[in-house]
Subunit: 430 residues, 2 copies
């Protein structure tokens, strides 16, 4: 069960912010072997490893239009409507992130601006297994489509019958995925990193996965393919005071804990009574969960910390840098202004993490494992490059050229200086 | 000298886009050894390696205010004025990149928005050696200061006398660096990644460096510290037609070639005459350069490619994905709209790369080595996290809650569903 810690000394905070170590080095040999075979044998290697790792032997790697049509017919209408609502909200929130071109004339005759250009080819990895993560399809494919990515490739491992879950295919079709492949794990990441006969090489790979996928994404990155975020187990920190509802807080902590045994759950409060009530509510609620064992295992690593006031709670949260942060306090709005490090923040008693996980419109692909100190979550920005442009007139170069000549000379870069001098000289002769 | 290739078949493009392989794996053992000693011995390890690698033994690791004052007095006034002009332009361009908070009500009662929060502690690495790269100090410290980073740490190796170049100290002081340390190479990156008695641990490390610095930054990244960009040699691709000035083009190509023997220079043109004139102009200009040997070595890896029209030239450029792209053609504006992959684009005959390297206002820290397909250059965005916030009212949750319940159940995540159900139930009872 959750470990309760009352007013720890600030010297203990570092230890209380520690995440379990992730080590994927043992898997590097396997990743290199699979990558090598994919580079050499392409689709043949994919088939081999899909048989070996997934025990599946689909006739074709690519999902056909017919399969998609059949799958869509199988998705219940209420689920379709829910996915459509979520998609509309994600679309609205991410479309608003588009940046207008804004030309800045830094000096007369020197115009500079940025333009967003879509990453041409992106790959989305969606894990298989018990829970078909179609919500992650929306979170990655919707902004990719808004950005204008030309190819949006999706890979997901097939089940034993050679199929991908219908809800994943429905979400992919709805949100603009251009091709879907029945391949998972290391071999999927390798296929998107290097390309095969069937699968296009992509410029950036997105999506969650187990330790094999994580190790493969790291290796893909070392091979020149960008990745969305460094990997780590999912995390939630809740700051709650006496005005919070212990049942709600318990439900939120459990929603995080059910993700995996390595999930991190932290409750920080200025009120020990609320902490005790929450721990009791967890006991009651966890008993009914299908993923009870996973949640209980995650709670073993988890902490409830009592600090002197909500300001101290916020300071601890900034030190911890949680992926998700719920503010369930009377002063939640004021606390939100104090957030320095977090992936996504949920303000007030009705803003549960589940809302952001599925349907409010924000993205659920967020920095974990202290990377919230330095990384943003996935957004429209993740699917574009913001390219700088500049257009300098003869007069503009006359305005800044002498400064460039002096600086280049001081850096001992005479050819840099000369590129200006040779132009300014022609202008002197006019 | 530059290799000339006339209308290569499109099947050859892949090979023509190849960069030399970078391999830092051999250095990993050394990096791990230095990092281990820094973690164990802190400043003592820094002193040891500064003596060993830089042959320098400064009394203090930190540069004092007195040293800065003395250094500033040594910087010539014309260089100070040039640096101030460059700083003002960089500031103007980067300040305009700040994002306004924009609240999106995706559904009634569901408000979502992003807020930029500065990365608290950033580290800037500035190499030592022959060319004191004070321009890079401006490019990294100015946006860090605009973002509001609380600690802006700068590390640069001392010379044999234990000093850092005065122009670097001047630029650092001018642009808001909060502390400057006399430490270089692997040990500087390790100190910023782990912290020592003197040097603060930072959240993100920026700046260029040799293969040792590159290997150390990769290792720091593996230890949870973000880095600016994957490393690679600097590159320039020029698209020039008959209206271009061969002398200007030659000067631009040489300004890139003088960076290092591994620099990449590519001229693409629809006009063989212009290519020949440019190659002749290079011959003339290179003879006078102090860094002639470096430039000549870089030209050995370089290519001049003739294609049928400027559209084909642009298509090649997009396949190559250059760090810097100069458009010296009659249709430069129209070509600029076709740019898909590039770090920074220079439009027209007076927009030389040197302008962006120093003083126009755009950033010169840009993606290399095909990463321009997926990465933006450094900007204000590089120094902030864009954190998502959401505030959902009771009515808002009633609007999206049922969709969340259906989706969570379909993903077999019952605790996610329960976090909504438990709230909706209390509202039913009101």
């Amino acid at each position: 069960m959750i470990q309760k810690i009352i007013t720890p000394d600030i010297n203990q905070w570092d230890a209380l912010c520690k995440r379990p170590a992730i080590d994927t080095e043992d898997l590097n040999g396997l990743v290199q072997q699979v990558f090598k075979e994919i580079k050499q044998n392409g689709d043949v290697a994919l088939k081999k490893y899909t048989q070996l790792f997934d025990g599946s032997n689909p006739a074709e790697v690519m999902v056909s239009q017919e399969e998609i049509a059949v799958a869509i017919a199988q998705v219940p209408n209420d689920l379709k409507a829910a996915v459509q609502l979520a998609k509309a909200n994600i679309e609205k929130f991410h479309a608003a992130q588009a940046e207008e071109k804004q030309v800045i004339e830094t000096v007369t005759g020197v115009e500079c601006w940025r333009e967003s250009r879509a990453i041409e080819k992106v790959g989305i990895y969606i894990p298989g297994g018990s829970a078909p993560l179609f919500s992650t399809v929306l979170m990655l494919a919707v902004p990719a489509a808004i950005a204008g990515c030309k190819q949006i490739v999706l890979c997901s491992p097939p089940d034993k019958q050679g199929n991908i879950n219908p809800a994943i295919l429905y979400a992919a079709q709805l949100s603009g995925v251009t091709s879907i492949y029945k391949v998972g794990g290391i071999q999927a990441i390798g296929a998107m990193a290097f390309g095969t006969q069937s699968i296009t090489k992509v410029d950036k790979i997105f999506g969650p996965g187990n330790q094999y996928v994580t190790a493969a994404k790291q290796a893909a990155f070392a091979n020149g393919v960008a990745i969305d975020l460094p990997a780590g187990p999912s995390e939630l920190l809740v700051i709650a005071d006496a005005t919070a509802n212990a049942e709600f807080v318990a439900a939120d902590l459990l929603s995080q804990a059910e993700h995996g045994a390595d999930s991190q759950v932290v409750l920080v409060s200025d009120n020990e009574v609320l902490v005790n009530q929450t721990m009791q509510a967890i006991d009651v609620q966890v008993a009914h969960l299908p993923r009870k064992d996973i949640a209980l295992a995650a709670l073993q690593n988890s902490r409830a910390i009592v600090l002197k006031d909500t300001q101290a709670c916020m300071a601890f949260s900034n030190a911890y840098a949680p992926e998700h942060l719920i503010l369930a306090t009377a002063d939640a709005d004021a606390l939100a202004d104090k957030v320095i490090n977090a992936g996504s923040v949920f303000i007030g008693n009705y803003s549960c993490e589940s809302a952001g996980d599925y349907a409010s419109g924000t993205n659920h692909t967020l920095p974990t494992n202290v990377y919230a100190r330095s990384y943003s979550g996935v957004s429209l920005d993740s699917f574009v490059k913001k390219i700088t442009f500049q257009k300098i007139t003869a007069q503009g170069l006359q305005n800044i050229g002498p400064a460039i000549e002096i600086m280049a000379a001081a850096e001992s870069l005479d050819a840099h200086k000369n590129a200006v001098t040779i132009r300014l000289n022609t202008l002197k002769n006019v």
